[in-house]
Amino acid sequence: MQDDLKDILSQPEGNPSQDQLLKYLKNELEAAEKHELEKQVVDDAFESDALEGLQQVENNEKIEFIVDSLNRELKKRTAQKISARQKRQLKPQWWLYFSVLILLIIIVLVYLFFHKSTDVRL
């Protein structure tokens, strides 16, 4: 009892895992586990709000499915960004650099050709 008194003001360590939260929502936890999870969540506004919201979902089984589909979308979104950037970064446009170089050489050659021919005439 004396030790438990101190429990009131202590900050519980760790956060419940997603699996634990889902089990809690499905009422699959033992009384002690339930209490432990609630003790971890009660001081954390984010988790406390989330648990309150999740309890409003009528069919518990759907939650896992919703989370999976949200995660799939997220993965797609974060993966796409990388490939787009990689395309931009890793494929330098060599043909463009090459054409510019050829063009510069032609310009220099044409200049030299005309410059020389006017020198000869003089």
Binding site: D7, I8, L22, E38, V42, G53, N71, L74, T78
Partner: protein
Amino acid sequence: MSKELYKDINDGELLQRFWQTQNNEWLGILLQRYTLLLFGVCMKYLKNENDAQDCVQQIFLKVIQEVSKYKIDYFKSWLYMVAKNQCLTLLRDKKGKIPVELTETNGRFVYEEQKQEEQPVITDDLLKQALSGLNEEQYKCVTLFYLQKNSYQRISEVTGYPILKVKSYIQNGKRNLRLIIEKKIKETDSGNAR
């Protein structure tokens, strides 16, 4: 699978890796940890599964687009604030003008982990005195929860209070308990000083 692979890396380190590499995949791994919680928060505010799912997607997008603009010390608190603001914005757009505090989304802010202040020594006698200073509902819920280790549901059955009330009595009770203790410590300190 990635969730399992990176479970030993904490949020701060994942964020650091994102900042160093600018690779959104790190952000994806980090956000995945909070998908369930984000969906829960959106459900709490929007009370509709489809709206909540859309809102979570918008939060993801917002984080991906804006995370680089902020200096974030504690990702979880920052994400919670982004989520709440997004829900409140949607509610405001839906229902017209509801007074909503959105100032924190404007500008650059620094989010810091709540620092544990140095706690004064709290004796059991002081705690007992403070507990007796709580109102009846809070006293009942706090003792049934922390001392007798009951779940919300059991407390609700025993006391007849709805589960949501039980939770708020525990949260408010704990906050009041801290206030009462602080007050008593100050009183003792000023008494000793004299």
